[in-house]
C-alpha cells in the first residue's frame, strides 16, 4: 500500500487546461468517490485550486492509480487522456508524501510562501473526510501535512516579505506610517493594481479612500467597489493635501502631479509625510517629487525591485523549508511502516511476552516452595497459553495481509493492544480519537472478515463495508 498523487499544476499545464480541470466541491467529492468505488484506492482526496488539480490516493498499485486518475480527470475536463497525459505528473510513496508537504509549505506554489494553500488543502481534506473518502492513513497524513505547513510558516521567513507590487506598496506605506487607521489614501486613475492596493490598504484598517478619475463615472464605480468616495479630478490638488498615500495609475502621457503641486500641498499638510506610488507607464508623478522633504515616491520599477529582492529572500528561506519537509517525511514514514503486518505481529508478540515475563517475576517470590522443575513447567504452561491465544490473531492478520484494508486491521490491533503506547503521549487528542473510532469499526467487522477468509480468497471487501470504514473521520480537523 502506498500514497500516490497524480495531477497537473501551473508548472506543467497552461491556464487554459487548468481551468478545464478545475473541480468544484461537488465534482471533487464525486471524482474521489468514483475512484474508491472502482477499487483502485482505499482513500482519496481531490485538491483543486486555481494553480493545481491533484488527486491523492492510497492504494496498492501506483500505476493503476495513476491511470485511473488520468482517466477521471480527462473525462471530467472533457479532454482525451492522451491530450492530458503530457501535463500530468504523478508520484508515489515518499515522492507523493514529499509532494504533499511541499504543496502545503507553499514550496510548489506559483508564489513561493503564499498563505492560501494551507486553507485550500484543509478545505479539500475536510470535504473528503466528510464525504467518507478518507480513513486512518489520510486522516493522519493530511493533518500532518497541515502541521508541516504551519511549521514551515513559523520556523522560516518564507512568507514574511511581500512579493507582489500591491503588497510591497502597502508594506512600504506601513514602514512610513506604522498604523494606517487614521490615514487617507488618494487613488488617481482607475487601474487594476491601484484597486488591489486600495483593497490591501483597507485590510490594514485605512478608513478614508478618495478616488479621482478623469471620468466621474469610473471614479464612482471604483469608489463603490473599494468603499471610498469619488472626488472631482479638477480638485486633485486640494485632495493631495489631505492624502497620506497617493496611488497613481492614469494613462496620461504626461505627469499628472508635478513637484510644484506637491510642494504646494505640503504648505497645507505641515510636514506630515506623504507616500506616493506611481504604477503608471508612462509615469504620472514627477520623479522630482522624491526630492521634496517628507515626500517618498516609489515608481513601478522601484516596487518591482522590492518584489524581486523579496522573492530572492524567499528562495533562500525555501531551502530551509525543504529540510523541514525532509524531516517530516521521515516521521510520517516511521508511522506508515508501523502499519505493515509483519512488524506488528512481532510487536504484538513482544508486548504479550513482556506481560507474561513480568507476571512470572511478580509471582516468583510467592512460589518460592516450587522446585526448579515445577518452575519450568509453569513457564512452559504460560508460554503455551500465550501462544494459543495469539495463534488465531496471528494467522488472521497474515491472511488479511494481502488485502487492501489490512492496514485498518493493523491499526485496530495496535490501538487495542496499545502497541504505540510509548508514543501515545505526543499524539494529538483528535488523532487518538480518530484511531480509536477506526479501531472500533474495524473490530466490529472482524466477524465477517473472518468468515470471508474461511470462504475463500476475496480480493476486496464489498464497497459498502469500505465506505463504512471510511466514515470514521475526525470532527476536529
Amino acid at each position: 500500500m502506498l500514497v500516490v498523487v497524480a495531477g497537473i499544476s501551473h508548472k506543467t499545464a497552461p491556464l487554459e487546461l487548468r481551468e478545464r480541470l478545475a473541480l468544484d466541491e461537488e465534482a471533487s467529492l464525486r471524482v474521489a468517490q468514483e475512484l474508491l468505488d472502482e477499487g483502485v484506492a482505499c482513500e482519496a482526496v481531490a485538491l483543486s485550486t486555481c494553480n493545481r488539480t491533484e488527486l491523492y490516493l492510497y492504494g496498492r498499485d501506483s500505476l493503476a492509480a495513476r491511470q485511473a486518475a488520468l482517466a477521471h480527470l480527462a473525462r471530467h475536463a472533457g479532454v482525451s487522456p492522451a491530450e492530458l497525459e503530457p501535463s500530468l505528473y504523478s508520484y508515489s510513496g515518499d515522492g507523493a508524501i514529499t509532494h504533499l508537504f511541499r504543496v502545503t509549505s507553499s514550496l510548489d506554489s506559483m508564489v513561493v510562501g503564499e498563505a492560501q494553500i494551507v486553507a485550500q488543502l484543509k478545505a479539500a481534506y475536510q470535504q473528503a473526510c466528510d464525504g467518507g473518502c478518507t480513513s486512518v492513513v489520510f486522516n493522519r497524513l493530511f493533518r500532518h501535512a497541515l502541521e508541516v505547513g504551519k511549521r514551515v510558516r513559523t520556523e522560516t521567513a518564507i512568507g514574511e516579505r511581500p512579493v507582489s507590487v500591491s503588497s510591497a506598496a502597502v508594506e512600504l506605506a506601513l514602514q512610513v506610517f506604522g498604523k494606517l487607521r487614521d490615514h487617507t489614501v488618494l487613488i488617481v486613475g482607475a487601474g487594476e493594481t491601484s484597486e488591489l492596493t486600495a483593497t490591501h490598504l483597507k485590510a490594514h484598517g485605512i478608513q478614508r479612500i478618495l478616488v479621482a478619475n478623469r471620468t466621474l463615472d469610473t471614479s464612482m464605480e471604483l469608489a463603490r467597489r473599494v468603499g471610498g468616495e469619488a472626488v472631482r479630478f479638477e480638485d486633485l490638488e486640494r485632495h493631495l493635501a489631505e492624502a497620506d498615500i497617493v496611488i497613481s495609475s492614469t494613462s496620461a502621457p504626461h505627469y499628472v502631479v508635478t513637484r510644484e503641486t506637491v510642494e504646494r500641498a505640503f504648505k497645507r499638510r505641515r510636514h506630515r509625510p506623504m507616500f506616493l506610488i506611481d504604477i503608471a507607464v508612462p509615469r504620472d508623478l514627477d520623479p522630482e517629487i522624491n526630492r521634496v522633504r517628507d515626500a517618498y515616491l516609489y515608481d513601478i520599477d522601484d516596487l518591482q525591485h522590492v518584489v524581486e529582492h523579496n522573492r530572492h529572500e524567499r528562495e533562500k528561506e525555501a531551502e530551509h523549508a525543504e529540510r523541514i519537509v525532509e524531516q517530516e517525511l521521515a516521521s510520517v514514514n516511521d508511522w506508515l511502516r508501523s502499519l505493515e503486518v509483519v512488524p506488528t505481529i512481532a510487536t504484538l508478540r513482544e508486548a504479550v511476552e513482556d506481560i507474561r515475563r513480568s507476571e512470572l517475576d511478580r509471582l516468583g517470590s510467592k512460589m518460592s516452595d516450587l522446585t526448579d522443575e515445577q518452575r519450568a513447567r509453569v513457564d512452559m504452561l504460560t508460554a503455551s497459553i500465550v501462544n494459543k491465544i495469539l495463534h488465531v490473531p496471528t494467522v488472521k492478520m497474515k491472511e488479511v495481509a494481502g488485502r487492501d484494508q489490512c492496514y485498518l486491521y493493523v491499526d485496530a490491533v495496535r490501538t487495542l493492544f496499545d502497541l504505540d503506547g510509548a508514543e501515545a503521549g505526543d499524539e494529538t487528542a483528535g488523532d487518538n480519537a480518530a484511531r480509536a473510532s477506526a479501531a472500533d469499526v474495524a473490530a466490529s467487522n472482524e466477524q465477517p472478515a473472518a468468515e470471508r477468509a474461511d470462504a475463500d480468497e476475496q480480493p476486496a471487501a464489498p464497497p459498502g463495508n469500505v465506505r463504512h470504514l471510511r466514515g470514521t473521520g475526525t470532527e476536529d480537523a
Partner: protein, 275 residues
C-alpha cells in the same frame, strides 16, 4: 560591602551584554519572542544594578554620584530605567539595539575607572545638589533614548529615500513610531532638564559660586535646553519635518555627550565631581 556592589555591577554588565546579543539575534533572524526575552534579561540586570547602587550608597554614606565610577554607573542605570518605561508604553523594538551598546560603553568606562567610595566634599553636601543630580539623570536617560530613536529614524529615512528596501528596512520600526518616541521621550525629559537647571542655578546663587553663568557646562546645558525646547515647539506646531526633529534630537545628544566627556573633566570650574 563595596565588593558585593562591584560584583552586582558586573552581573548587570554581563546581563546587558546578553540582552544585546539576544536583540541582535532577534533582529537578524526575526524570531518572535527574542525582543521579549531581551527585555526580561535587561530587567534582571537593572535590578542587579539598582542593588549595586544602593549598596554603594550605604557604603559611601551618600547618594552615589561622585567620581567617574559612580556617575557612570548611575547614568547607565538611568538610561536603562527610562528605556524600560518608554518601551512599556510604546512597544517599539530596535531602540534596545542602540540603548544596550551605549549602556555597555558607559559601564565599561565605569569598571575601568573604578575608584573606592569616598566621603562627600563639603560643597556637595546639600539636598538641592542631590535633587539636581537625580532630575538631571532622568533627563539624560530620556534624551539618550530619544537620540537613539533619532539616529535610527535618520538611517531609516535615508534607506527609504534611496530605495534600499532590502536588508534591515523591514525590521526597523515605522518612521511614525520613531517620530513619536523622539517626541515623547523629549517631552518627558525637558521638564526634568528645566528642573535640574533651576536647581543648579538656585544652588549656585545661594552659595555665590563665582562666575557660574559663564561656566562652559552651564552654557552648553542652556544650549541643549534651547535645542530641545525648539524641537518640542516645532513638533507640536508641525513646523519641522520628521527629519528635522530627528536631527535636532541628535544635536541635543551630541551636546550632552560633549558636556559629559569634555566639559565635565576638562572645562568646568565646579562640576568636577565626575573626575
Amino acid at each position: 560591602m563595596d565588593q558585593t556592589s562591584v560584583i552586582l555591577v558586573w552581573i548587570a554588565y554581563l546581563l546587558y551584554a546578553a540582552t544585546f546579543a539576544v536583540f541582535l539575534i532577534g533582529f537578524f533572524t526575526q524570531r518572535p519572542g527574542m525582543n521579549r526575552l531581551g527585555i526580561v534579561v535587561a530587567a534582571v540586570g537593572l535590578v542587579s544594578q539598582t542593588l549595586a547602587l544602593i549598596l554603594r550608597g550605604i557604603d559611601a554614606g551618600h547618594f552615589p554620584f561622585v567620581g567617574v565610577y559612580e556617575s557612570m554607573v548611575l547614568v547607565a542605570w538611568a538610561i536603562v530605567l527610562v528605556w524600560h518605561v518608554l518601551e512599556a508604553f510604546t512597544r517599539i523594538k530596535a531602540v534596545g539595539l542602540y540603548v544596550m551598546p551605549v549602556v555597555l560603553v558607559l559601564l565599561t568606562i565605569a569598571l575601568i575607572e573604578y575608584d573606592p567610595p569616598v566621603g562627600l566634599a563639603p560643597a556637595l553636601r546639600s539636598d538641592i545638589v542631590i535633587l539636581h543630580v537625580i532630575v538631571m539623570l532622568v533627563a539624560i536617560g530620556c534624551f539618550y533614548v530619544a537620540g537613539g530613536a533619532a539616529i535610527i529614524y535618520l538611517i531609516e529615512e535615508t534607506l527609504l529615500r534611496r530605495r534600499k528596501t532590502g536588508g534591515v528596512l523591514g525590521r526597523l520600526p515605522s518612521l511614525a513610531a520613531l517620530d513619536r518616541l523622539i517626541y515623547h521621550a523629549t517631552l518627558l525629559g525637558l521638564p526634568f532638564l528645566t528642573m535640574g537647571m533651576a536647581a543648579g542655578v538656585i544652588r549656585a546663587e545661594t552659595f555665590r559660586v563665582p562666575g557660574w553663568p559663564t561656566d562652559p557646562m552651564v552654557l552648553l546645558s542652556a544650549a541643549a535646553w534651547v535645542v530641545y525646547l525648539v524641537l518640542i515647539a516645532g513638533r507640536v506646531r508641525r513646523d519641522w519635518s520628521g527629519t528635522a526633529v530627528a536631527w535636532l534630537s541628535v544635536v541635543g545628544l551630541v551636546l550632552l555627550l560633549v558636556i559629559r566627556f569634555a566639559a565635565v573633566p576638562y572645562l568646568s570650574g565646579f562640576h568636577t565631581y565626575g573626575g
